[in-house]
């Protein structure tokens, strides 16, 4: 995930246009903070201690990725929603950019 963050930040065409956040399902602030420090996670992580986000999304298994397109009118559109990690951060990023229509 850190590699994906660096891939996003390293692309000038995505500067300010794409952000990465993480959500720790069932984890407390302490647990997420410990995880962030231990693995030197450079992007924002949030705790979902009571699983409320997890439930809202559909109690998916992890790792799970959701790509959301935020529109100018304040609405948001999901363009990617899939279970499973990735082998190559740059290839994954390329596919996300393509799917998003950015």
């Amino acid at each position: 995930m850190n590699e994906l963050y660096r891939a996003i930040e390293g692309r000038k065409d995505l500067k300010g246009k794409m952000k990465l956040i993480g959500i720790g399902t069932g984890n407390s602030d302490f647990e997420v903070g410990f995880f962030r420090k231990k693995y030197e996670v450079p992007f924002p992580l949030f705790s979902d201690e009571d699983y409320s986000i997890h439930k809202a999304i559909g109690e998916v298994r992890t790792p799970y990725f959701i790509g959301v397109r935020l529109k100018g009118d304040g609405s948001a559109e999901v363009f990617y929603s899939k279970l499973g990690g990735f082998e190559n951060a740059n290839k994954f990023l390329d596919s996300m950019v393509k799917l998003s229509g950015l």
Binding site: G22, T25, F35, R61, G67, K71, G85
Partner: protein
């Protein structure tokens, strides 16, 4: 025309566990594939404690997944001990809890504490389950012990054997003198928070 401002990606972590869990390893994690047995909400606790804070922890010897046997009193005068009883292998919450302790090893080391994980499952079951926990690499740093035969005898000795034959989700913090300093017979449906245990470890003499 739609204005494309931002695209946010939400990455759902395991954990971490905390776990975290490696945090990507949890009962919800794809690392366990489809092998986690779904469990309905259970009665939060279903046993009567037979020990209390301030008691000398009852001694026991149990077989370990890595081979050989472990005896609690072996650590007396050397290390503080946390005993983590979890109800059963291949169930949702249990499959989150120990991976979390696995990544949180430094909290135990900093407080001169060994963790002993215990379930009433047999050794082959625990072998497969703990191997699956570590599919991402490495292995559990703490011993996992089987309280299978005589069935649940150690859980029974501590008063955390439930009426259906599994143990409670219970934590016992034992100091270097063998005295119980903290007990948490937790709601079986929920994972104990790491920060609470860490707080108890920090109270111990190193």
């Amino acid at each position: 025309m739609a204005i494309k401002k931002h695209i946010s990606l939400m990455w759902m972590l395991g954990l971490l566990v905390i776990f975290i869990w490696t945090p990507a390893v949890s009962g919800q994690s794809t690392d366990f594939k489809e092998n986690i047995y779904p469990v309905e909400k259970l009665k939060p606790t279903d046993s009567v404690l037979k020990v209390k804070v301030g008691d000398l922890a009852p001694d026991f010897t149990l077989p370990a997944v890595r081979g050989g046997e472990m005896t609690l009193s072996h650590y007396r005068g050397k290390k503080n001990v946390v005993i983590s009883f979890v109800p059963a292998a291949w169930t949702p919450v249990c499959s989150d809890q120990w991976p979390g302790y696995n990544i949180a090893q430094e909290f135990f080391v900093q407080n001169n504490t060994i963790l002993l994980g215990i379930t009433v499952d047999n050794i082959p079951t625990l072998y497969a389950w703990t191997n699956q926990m570590c599919m991402g690499g490495g292995e559990l740093w703490f011993p996992v012990l089987s309280d299978f035969y005589p069935h649940g005898a150690v859980a029974e000795k501590y008063g955390v054997l439930r009426s259906d034959g599994v143990s409670e989700r219970a934590l016992f913090v034992i100091d270097k003198k063998g005295i119980i300093r903290y007990i948490d017979v937790h709601d079986i449906n929920e994972r104990p928070r790491l920060e609470v245990l860490v707080g108890e470890l920090q109270k111990l003499e190193k």
